[in-house]
Amino acid sequence: MNPTRAIVIGGTSGIGLEIVRQLTDRGAKVAVVGRDFSELGEFNVIQKLHDVKDTDAIPQVFLDLTDQLGGLDLFVYSAGVMPLMQPSEFDTPKDLEIISVNVSGAVAWMNQAASRFYGAQHGCLIAIGSVAGDRGRAGQPVYNASKAFVHTYTESLRNRLARRGVSVITVKPGPTRTRMTAYHDQSKMMDPAVAASKVLRLIGRQGEFYLNPVHALVGFVFRHIPGWLMRRIRI
């Protein structure tokens, strides 16, 4: 499937921005939803300034965008936050901010796309999860949990929508060289353009995908590390 009309939430930076770039290169009509368009540059896309925390506005924004696009083939939810977190930090406002972007915003947006695709019986929905959602690690309790939510939620959507001919893809990128990871050593991280092209190659398929075989292997091992060991090692 070659998507001709796409909405990318969080398409103003990171993997989302690269997805937008590559889709427009292929000639797709793209609507980009985000909070800050400064990185977007000279792109012929529909720009919609919107904060995903404003869930009440979403149904109308979705309707306007699908109208302007003249339909919808691909929906990508790529908005996500991961604030820097100290090992001893238990900061509820910060945690709730993560939940509102990574979880509530995701649900509010993907429900719109899912309900449309359910009726239309065609389309592809991509959610950016993370290897970080595979286990609850010491460093990022709520970020990890928010991505685990995305995985399980989109698995359910897949089970609802696959039988309607709709493709639902959960992507689990590993560390990627974006703003989100700027305060870590980025030298060994995946380039966001590479991540985006791998993501776009998945269109039309069903399931959860890692973006490189090492991540898949690490993910597999990771998911099987017993709890007692998780409490002792530093990862």
């Binding site: 309707l63 339909g71 919808l72 009726g119 239309a120 019986q121 065609h122």
Partner: protein, 443 residues
């Protein structure tokens, strides 16, 4: 979008253009008006969909609101040889209700799966068009719900959903003594012979149709004429063929087999085989068929259109008698020149029938089926020029390739202006639109 709508993917019978739209299924005329109101507030357009059996896109509007009248499905009692039916009733439901009482709809199309509203909105014709004209001549009353007014109105005949919702209509019926027709077959060898047979049989027949082998230069084929018979099948609602094809293939899966067989060399071979077998069968003796079998031949293989992998395009030209043969030959030449030859050609005889944006003429129509391929659109546009030059017209139920300019040039003088006037009367805000009406410059 309000709760009662659901987004759906639409395509016409030819499966070539598709779009998503919000579908509403109102239950009362007031609810239809509410959808118009909603469209106004959202700045969207509205179109009506029946059974979506038109080949192109007259029943859909991309990202707009589509109204289905499937809930308007009542069939009233027969009074004075006519019956009041809801716009959402299908021809199949209609004939099954009236045949046991000794009646048959005056005009039916080659498939019974269409709705009464869709039939009136397109002003369909049957194999008896030479005799009874189009369905509009047998409709005595229409109740129409338009953005600007509501009431009884016959202007909706042939209005393609652009004037308002056809909520119900009163249709005249024929009395029949049996559910059979007596069919005579002939095997014309040339285009000229086809047309002669139509003229020869016109006075004594109730129905006439001819199949043409386009792969054959001279235009050989098979001609069928049928008359109502007063003996034969009893008047029942069961006349359809549900037995497996050749005793083994379930009929609703036969298209899979057709798909496997569908390639140019084979269609050529099948056309030849059909001609030869028909020629052998076409003795002078008439054979009996039920009305449903004779009229709805294509319904016997549900889903046959899916045999065309990339979708199906039909090109139907209506040409005045004097020019018919030469134009049809020219259409065939063009197909040979483009190396895209129709897999099925069907000829019918017509007479003019009044409606806004008329398509029927005193003459003949040739309907050509094509599997969608590269270069087909160009071929169709060149064929359209030949038809226009011959004084011919087009039927929008079958169209998906005409340009706005071609369509408008094909119309008789004044027809477009008259359409505009009526549009202004029923829908001055231009709420009712379809992908096709926009493409052809009607809305």
């Amino acid at each position: 979008m309000p709760q009662q709508s659901q987004i759906e993917y639409f395509h016409g019978f030819g499966q070539s253009t598709g779009a998503d739209a919000y579908v509403f299924a109102p239950e009362t005329p007031e609810q239809i008006l509410e959808v118009f109101e909603l469209a106004r507030s959202l700045g969207k357009s509205v179109s009506f969909a029946g059974a979506r059996r038109s080949y192109g896109s007259p029943m859909m509007t991309s990202e707009g609101l589509v109204i289905s009248l499937r809930n308007f499905d009542t069939i009233g009692p027969i009074e004075d040889d006519s019956v009041l039916v809801g716009g959402g009733v299908t021809l199949s439901q209609l004939w099954q209700a009236v045949a046991p009482l000794g009646y048959w709809p005056n005009v039916v199309s080659g498939t019974s799966k269409i709705t009464v509203a869709g039939a009136i909105a397109m002003n369909i014709h049957g194999k008896n068009a030479f005799k009874l004209g189009n369905i509009g001549e047998h409709v005595s009353e229409i109740s129409l719900v338009s953005p600007a007014q509501q009431g009884r109105d016959l202007d909706a005949i042939g209005s393609m959903g652009l004037f308002g919702a056809i909520v119900s209509a009163r249709l005249d019926l024929q009395r029949i003594e049996s559910a059979s027709v007596s069919v005579t077959a002939r095997a014309p060898r040339t285009w000229g012979e086809h047309l002669q047979l139509f003229d020869e049989f016109a006075s004594q027949s109730d129905y006439m149709v001819s199949w043409v082998d386009l792969h054959h230069r001279a235009g050989r084929g098979l001609f069928h004429a049928a008359e109502y018979s007063n003996s034969g099948s009893p008047l029942t609602a069961r006349q359809s063929r549900e037995s497996p094809l050749f005793g083994v293939v379930p009929r609703d899966q036969a298209w899979l087999m057709l798909k496997a067989l569908n390639n140019p060399a084979l269609t050529k071979g099948l056309n030849a085989a059909k001609y030869l077998s028909g020629k052998i069968l076409a003795g002078n003796k008439a054979h009996a068929q039920t009305l449903a079998e004779f009229n709805f031949l294509l319904d016997a293989l549900p889903g046959w259109e899916r045999a065309y992998a990339n979708g199906l395009v039909q090109f139907q030209a209506f040409v005045p008698s004097e020019r018919a043969e030469s134009v049809f030959v020219e259409l065939q030449d063009l197909q040979f020149r483009h190396r895209i030859v129709s897999s099925l050609g069907v000829l019918k005889k017509h007479r003019a029938s009044p409606q806004v944006l008329p398509y029927a003429v005193y003459g003949y129509s040739l309907a050509l089926d094509f599997g969608k391929t590269r270069g087909l659109e160009l071929l169709c546009q060149e064929m359209a020029e030949a038809v226009i030059a011959g004084g011919g017209r087009f039927y929008l139920a079958k169209d998906s390739t005409l340009t706005a300019d071609q369509y408008q040039r094909s119309l008789p003088d004044g027809a477009f202006a008259e359409f505009r006037q009526l549009k202004q009367k029923y829908d001055p805000e231009n709420i009712l639109q379809s992908i096709q009406s926009r493409h052809l410059g009607l809305t």
